[in-house]
């Protein structure tokens, strides 16, 4: 395992895409925009020796969708590249061409949150049942399950 990446090193490679900050000793977060994510990921792979995609975290923060790509390599530093997608048009080009594991992760995110990854070779249902209705994305904040069922399993009067 080689040494941790310094903030300056990551900044010089990725600063032109957006803000770079060090959140913990081995975590560096980069904020960028959807148009530049492809190139940012490519640069992280080539210049910063990031050969392992850990996760594509996807969440709905009420106003928009956030996608965070976590990459790491032999240096042990986790580089998180974050983007935001507008709520009314959650679309972005797929990254499975430069990051093959993203193929499965993107399908799961599409199924649960409804973010469309254009150019994905096989964007089909993967985690919800085949008779789950279309356009129902459970992990969105405004999605509620069938009425009168507390979906957390916590009794109604305790909330």
């Amino acid at each position: 395992m080689t040494g941790l990446l310094g903030l300056e090193e990551v900044k010089s490679a990725l600063e032109r895409f957006g803000t770079v900050e060090q959140v913990r000793s081995n975590r560096i977060k980069v904020k960028t925009i959807p148009e530049k994510i492809h190139e940012a990921l490519f640069r992280a792979q080539t210049l910063l020796a990031c050969d392992h995609l850990i996760q594509i975290s996807a969440l709905d923060n009420g106003q928009s969708f956030e996608l965070i790509y976590h990459l790491t390599g032999p240096h042990g530093t986790v580089i998180a590249i974050a983007i935001e997608l507008p709520r009314d048009r959650p679309e972005m080009p797929t990254t499975s061409d430069i990051l093959p594991p993203a193929g499965i992760y993107e399908r799961q995110i599409y199924d649960l949150l409804g973010i469309v990854f254009t150019g994905h070779p096989n964007l089909k249902r993967i985690i919800l049942s085949e008779d789950w209705p279309e356009n129902e994305f459970p992990l969105r904040k405004d999605w509620k399950p069938r009425p009168k069922t507390p979906y957390g399993g916590v009794r109604q009067e305790e909330r």
Binding site: L128, S129, E130, P138, K148, G153
Partner: protein, 179 residues
């Protein structure tokens, strides 16, 4: 075994059923702890195979269906189909908290509920997961039911008569606010 007026072959078949029940395990979306405890029951430590209990892959050869997991939406129709494929007399053991009501997953969006919401259940085993000893206990309870069913010639003896409410009380559904 069974009524004395039954034919010899029928009595033999009943004796074989009770003394060597074949089980089939079906996972309807569980976390696998229950499945592993069922397999641990077949392993040298608890070793139910010496009692004649065999674990068959296909439900068509099984007497007892052990269902694990809270029934997910995807598995609901398959569970029903598996149950229909089993030849009579068939028994269902619903394992664990998940089998009883959905357990810790009760009410989640992809979960239907306990096994009883899909197929009729004969024995519930408590635990999360139930220990192999408790599973053996459940199978023995199931065998007792089987014996009694064969002696009584069916399952009608198991239906409890509907209790009429005591005078002065009203019946209320759970969750309903009393008038």
């Amino acid at each position: 075994m069974g009524k004395i007026t039954d034919s010899l072959s029928r009595r033999l078949a009943n004796w074989a059923r009770v003394n060597s029940p074949w089980i089939s395990v079906f996972n309807t979306g569980s976390c696998n702890a229950c499945d592993i405890e069922v397999i641990a029951t077949l392993m040298p430590r608890f070793d139910v195979e010496r009692f004649g209990i065999l674990a068959k892959g296909s439900p068509r050869h099984a007497d007892i269906l052990i269902v694990t997991g809270p029934v997910t939406m995807k598995q609901e129709s398959r569970l029903k189909r598996i149950w229909e494929q089993m030849p009579e007399p068939k028994y269902v053991i619903a394992m664990g908290a998940c089998g009883a009501s959905g357990g810790v997953f009760q009410g989640l969006y992809h979960v239907v509920g306990g096994v009883e919401s899909v197929i009729p259940v004969d024995v519930f085993v408590a635990g999360c997961p139930p220990r192999p000893d408790e599973i053996i206990n459940a199978v023995v309870a199931c065998l007792k039911l089987m014996k009694e069913d064969l002696a009584q010639g069916g399952r009608e003896w198991r239906q409890k008569p509907v209790q009429s409410p005591m005078p002065g009380t009203t019946t209320r559904e759970p969750g309903e606010v009393p008038a």
